[in-house]
């Protein structure tokens, strides 16, 4: 496994100078690249390195750094190795290249990310709304979206639950941890 | 003045006038066409009584024209269906091209069918037979180049039949020195054995091509579905019955005198049954309504052939009754397809659905005809089916009964497919503009379907001429009560009284219909076909939920082994084999003088060898 990993890192590094690798697990590799490199590195991984399977596309909201981190998770059946390809994009203008010509199923994940985070994939074909029907608010998975406030505004809340606690406060009370600064801003 | 001459002159003059009038004015053409059909029909039934004969001597040949009760019975099919189809055609063909050509051939084909029924000699029989083939061929290729192939197929198989018939006629003339059919029938018992065997085979080959029996049926589905529907109803309803007409004559008059007629009858009965089964299976697999009906015609003619081949009195009765019923319902169904085609422009089940509210009268005609086709009481199809089963059972054709029963059970599948595919299912926005067919098209369909239901309760209407026809064929005129009541009897004395059963069915239906309707009349509401339980999903307006693709897939999977091979493939193989053979023979003509010189020498040498070996 070690040799395979080294070989993969070498080849990727030789082709994509901006790739920063991270190796922290037995069968997992991690590359961070610029967002312009995304289609070419994915193509390369699929066609040359045998990472035939796109497991998932997911997103992390780095609110403090004003960035989204989009993660492509790939799997190779021959090497039994998982590769994460990460890229960071601007949170205010989240645009990324559409990759559903590489994997057809990427279309589904991209539509999900579009609805849940508001990331625009250039040239994405989305015939209709996907998971969120009739949604008019901001993308709900962004961390600055206040779901409790939204629910209280939109849905009737039956009286009797006013004492409901924020689960983070309970945890802090029990463990004595410090609440991070960014979290205090969205405290309930 | 001879009445038969007048009848033929009406047809011929009418056809020519229609053709000429087409160049002048459309209305004049339609008028001439309709007048010809109506006047010929009226003239025939008023002026030509059963038994009318006339003798002609033409170039030394003694010919005879006349009408027997048997021919008269078939004339009901030809002229009845012809008139209805003619009315229908006026509206159906409106706005199409080359109408003079179409109407001319339509009339000529009616003329030729009447000619066949009135020929009492083999020469005019053959000539009319050929006219019928050609006129129908011209209508098959009416639509232009893309239907050329089915036309050629049809003509090719008809040619096989015609050659067979011609050979048979020559054989008969060699034996009897007369061309009259009665003479042939009288002389037949005294023919040599080989003639006795070959003559029926040749005649039956000719007739089974027209009746689309199994190995010779391949032309039928294409030809039926490619000609205009107004003519297809005559084509499938009446023209194919000419084959049955001939078959009955052959089986009744010739086969009975054969020493081993049982083998002959069994073979043909089984061919008929196999035709019925395979036709039904292929009909189930079709998506095109015209093709479905065409295969169904093949299958239905299979039943009739079985009945004819069995040859007992009840079996022939059943076959002849079913011939009329088939003309009625298959004629109507083709007209229905024509109406749907005219109004929506589509003939495939997967492309159109939910027409019941748009074309209710067409639906009623289709419903009655389908019930008749399926043989479900209390409509007319049941009478024929019942007599056929009884005749098969009482003559101990056990496995044949089951085969026929399987075919008619499987027929429910395509019956339902026809009604469901066109008229039921979801109402789509694409058919929102569809209107009911014009009155001139609906009325013939409704008249025909009304006849079907009347014959189901009062079959004696058709049994009376049928009885006369049977007597012409030499069967005794027994069971007088049979013709005057609506009770069916079999040979063991079991009976079905149709009238009380019909009233019982109607009464029970009305009672429960009323119960259903009265209960909660105000709170019963009608909803659209989009308001169905789809697990809460709301179907969009343009979303077609009708199930019409791969309709009977499980059934077709179960019978797949039987449908793996098609007869057409074999014919194609024979065709390509022949082509290769001819291609090889063509090389004999090398164009080189030396080669021909060798041929001559070889020929002479061979002659010498033969002469020495044979005649020395």
């Amino acid at each position: 496994m070690k040799e395979i990993k080294t070989k993969i890192i070498e080849r990727i590094k030789s082709h994509f100078q901006d790739a920063v690798e991270r190796d922290y697990d037995y069968n997992r590799l991690d590359f961070s690249v610029k967002k312009e490199t995304i289609p070419s590195i994915l193509f390369y991984l699929k066609d040359e390195m045998n990472f035939k399977h796109l497991s998932h596309i997911t997103c992390v909201d780095w609110l403090e750094e004003k960035e989204f981190e989009v993660v492509f998770i790939l799997w190779s059946y021959t090497d039994r190795l998982q590769v994460y390809v990460r890229t960071r994009i601007d949170r205010d203008h989240p645009v990324l290249d559409n990759i559903d010509m590489i994997w057809r199923q990427a279309n589904t994940y991209e539509r999900e990310l579009k609805e849940m985070y508001g990331i625009n994939f250039t040239g994405l074909e989305a015939p209709e709304e996907f998971l969120l029907e009739d949604w008019e608010g901001p993308p709900p998975m962004r961390r600055d979206f206040d779901t409790r406030e939204y629910a209280a505004r939109t849905y009737y809340t039956r009286p009797g639950r006013e004492d409901a606690q924020d689960v983070r406060e309970t945890i802090i009370k029990r463990t004595g941890e410090e609440l991070p600064d960014f979290a205090k801003k969205y405290k309930r | 003045m001879n009445m038969i001459y007048i009848l033929f002159s009406i047809f011929l003059a009418g056809a020519i006038l229609t053709w000429v009038a087409d160049k002048i004015s459309g209305i004049l053409r339609d008028l001439f066409f309709l007048l010809t059909v109506l006047s010929a029909t009226t003239f025939f039934y008023l002026k030509i009584p059963v038994g009318y004969t006339t003798n002609i001597t033409l170039a030394g040949l003694h010919l005879q024209w006349g009408i027997t009760a048997f021919g008269w019975y078939f004339s009901l099919i030809v002229l009845g269906l012809g008139t209805m189809a003619a009315f229908y055609a006026l509206s159906y063909m409106k706005g199409k091209e080359r109408l003079g050509y179409f109407y001319f051939n339509f009339l000529i084909s009616l003329l030729s069918m009447m000619g066949i029924l009135m020929s009492r000699d083999l020469v005019s029989f053959f000539i009319f037979w050929e006219i019928m083939t050609w006129s129908s061929y011209f209508i098959v290729i009416y639509k232009g180049k893309h239907v050329q192939r089915s036309g050629i197929n049809y003509l090719l198989f008809s040619a096989i039949g015609a050659y067979a018939m011609l050979m048979a006629i020559v054989m008969v003339y060699a034996h009897t020195q007369s061309l009259l059919i009665p003479d042939m029938i009288q002389a037949f018992p005294f023919f040599t054995l080989s003639a006795k065997i070959w003559l029926p085979i040749l005649f039956l080959t000719a007739f089974s091509v027209k009746a689309a029996m199994m190995p010779l049926h391949v032309w039928a589905p294409d030809a039926y579905s490619d000609s205009p529907m107004a003519y297809t109803s005559v084509f499938s309803g009446a023209l194919s019955k000419m084959g049955i007409y001939g078959m009955v004559l052959v089986f009744v008059t010739m086969i009975s005198y054969l020493p081993n007629d049982t083998a002959f009858r069994e073979t043909f009965a089984w061919l008929g049954a196999i035709t019925a089964i395979m036709g039904t299976l292929w009909a189930i697999a079709q998506d095109d309504a015209r093709k479905l009906l065409a295969w169904s015609s093949v299958a239905q003619l299979g039943y009739i052939i079985t009945g004819v081949a069995i040859g007992t009195e009840l079996a022939i009765l059943a076959a002849l009754f079913m011939a009329v019923m088939h003309a009625l319902f298959k004629g109507t169904l083709f007209l229905v397809v024509g109406a749907v085609e005219k109004q929506t422009g589509k003939v495939k089940f997967s492309e159109v659905s939910g027409l019941i509210r748009k074309m209710p009268w067409t639906f009623i005609a289709a419903l009655f005809s389908i019930i008749t086709l399926a043989g479900i009481p209390p409509l007319g199809g049941f009478v024929g089916k019942w007599m056929l089963y009884q005749s098969l059972i009482s003559s101990n054709h056990v496995i044949l009964v089951v085969a026929i029963f399987f075919a008619s059970t499987a027929a429910f599948l395509y019956c339902y497919k026809f009604l469901f595919g066109f008229f039921l299912g979801q109402e789509e926005p694409e058919i929102a503009h569809v209107r009911e067919a014009p009155l001139l098209m609906i009325i013939p369909m409704l008249i025909l379907s009304l006849l079907e239901s009347i014959l189901g309760v009062y079959p004696q209407i058709i049994f009376r001429p049928l009885d006369a026809a049977m007597q012409t064929l030499g069967f005794p005129a027994t069971q007088v009560h049979f013709w005057n009541t609506s009770v069916l009897f079999n040979e063991w004395g079991n009976q079905v009284a149709l009238k009380p059963l019909f009233y019982a069915v109607a009464g029970i239906f009305l009672f429960f219909f009323l119960v259903l309707t009265i209960k909660g009349w105000k709170t019963t509401r009608k909803v659209s076909t989009k308001d169905i339980s789809t697990s809460g999903e709301i179907p969009k307006q343009n979303e077609n939920l009708t199930y019409s693709i791969n309709f009977y897939q499980p059934f077709l999977r179960a019978v797949a082994p039987a449908m793996k091979r098609r007869m057409m493939t074999y014919y194609r193989e024979i065709g390509s084999g022949l082509e290769a053979f001819f291609d090889y023979t063509r090389r004999l003509y090398s164009g080189n003088g030396q080669t021909y010189a060798i041929y001559v020498i070889i020929f002479v040498v061979l002659l010498l060898l033969f002469k020495n070996s044979l005649f020395s």
């Binding site: - | 939910g354 019941i356 399926a374 043989g375 479900i376 009481p377 049941f382 089916k385 019942w386 009884q390 059972i393 009482s394 101990n396 056990v398 496995i399 009964v401 089951v402 029963f405 399987f406 059970t409 429910f412 599948l413 339902y416 009604l419 469901f420 039921l424 299912g425 109402e427 079999n490 063991w492 079991n494 079905v496 059963l501 019982a504 069915v505 029970i508 239906f509 429960f512 219909f513 119960v515 259903l516 309707t517 209960k519 909660g520 709170t523 019963t524 509401r525 009608k526 909803v527 659209s528 076909t529 308001d531 169905i532 339980s533 009708t546 309709f551 009977y552 499980p554 059934f555 179960a558």
Partner: protein, 304 residues
């Protein structure tokens, strides 16, 4: 006029009898199934409650006139079959129309309602319903073969197509046809499994797969009438089997015992069976059952 009244009265009385017995049997079916599954199960009169509840529904919907009539078509078949099948020996109860009791007519009138019902179902526009119908019709081509073979064997052997005559034959010889024509009996019994569309052959109504198939758009009074028709039809078919193979019955008790013992066959077979796919069901019927039918025909031709 008097005879018409007599027949009508007979029809009503036999309808009530068939309805009661049929619905009770349906309830008993559920009870037996429950007991086999180690449940208590519903009371035996549960199906009466179901039918009446459906009939008492305050609102009803239909998708068109054919659906409105579909249930009535089904009822016609059920009642006609009941009127033609002799319920008691010698017709000393109301003979209804069974003086003509013709088997071929019966075979065909049985299809009348099914086709009518299929048309009604077709008009609902529900794809599940149409799929159910295609499966049902396909399966029918399967079980008709052994069933017709069995019937033809009986008809040929005893030279009659009338049910009454076949009953008289059994009365005269004193032997039930299930013993004198065992192969025909076997073929008919195996065909009966499909005819009742009970468990292994119930793919046409598969409730979880097809949302109960043909009846998926039927509710309220329509479903109530359909269930009643099903009960009456079932009783008519059971009586037909009793008449053909057990020599009919001379009193009510014998009728109930005989029909119930026939009824148990598909029920018990169904409880322990999984479900066949359509083509498997068709091939099943064209296998052993048809072979038994052929043997029956051979026996009939030999013994004729």
């Amino acid at each position: 006029m008097g005879s018409i009244l007599y027949y009508t009265l007979g029809a009503i009385i036999s309808f009530i009898l068939a309805f009661t017995v049929g619905i009770t049997y349906m309830g008993l079916d559920r009870k037996i199934t429950a007991r086999v599954q180690n449940r208590i199960g519903p009371p035996w009169y549960q199906n009466f409650l179901d039918v009446s509840k459906l009939y008492f529904k305050k609102t009803n919907i239909h998708q068109g006139i054919m659906q409105h009539m579909g249930a009535a078509f089904m009822m016609v078949t059920a009642v006609m079959a009941l009127l033609i099948v002799p319920i008691f020996n010698h017709g000393h109860f109301f003979p209804n129309l069974n003086f003509q009791g013709d088997l071929i007519f019966l075979l065909y009138i049985m299809v009348f309602g099914q086709l009518g019902m299929a048309l009604g179902v077709g008009q609902t526009g529900n794809p599940n319903a149409a799929i159910g119908i295609t499966r049902g019709l396909s399966q029918m081509t399967g079980y008709e073969i052994p069933w017709v073979l069995a019937l033809v064997a009986l008809m040929i052997q005893y030279k009659t197509t009338s049910i009454v005559d076949l009953m008289n034959v059994q009365a005269e010889t004193g032997r039930w046809l299930m013993f004198s024509s065992p192969f025909a009996f076997l073929a008919a019994i195996l065909a009966m499994l499909g005819m009742f569309s009970h468990a292994p052959f119930d793919i046409m109504v598969a409730p979880n797969e097809l949302a109960s198939g043909p009846i998926s758009e039927y509710g309220g009074k329509y479903l109530s009438i359909l269930m009643s028709a099903g009960a009456v039809f079932m009783f008519a078919k059971l009586t037909l089997y009793v008449d053909l193979f057990m020599g009919g019955s001379s009193n009510l008790l014998a009728l109930l015992i005989k029909t119930f013992s026939f009824f148990l066959i598909p029920v018990l077979y169904g409880i322990v069976s999984p479900r066949y796919r359509t083509e498997q069901a068709i091939r099943y019927f064209w296998g052993w059952p048809s072979l038994f039918g052929l043997l029956a025909v051979i026996q009939a031709v030999i013994l004729k």
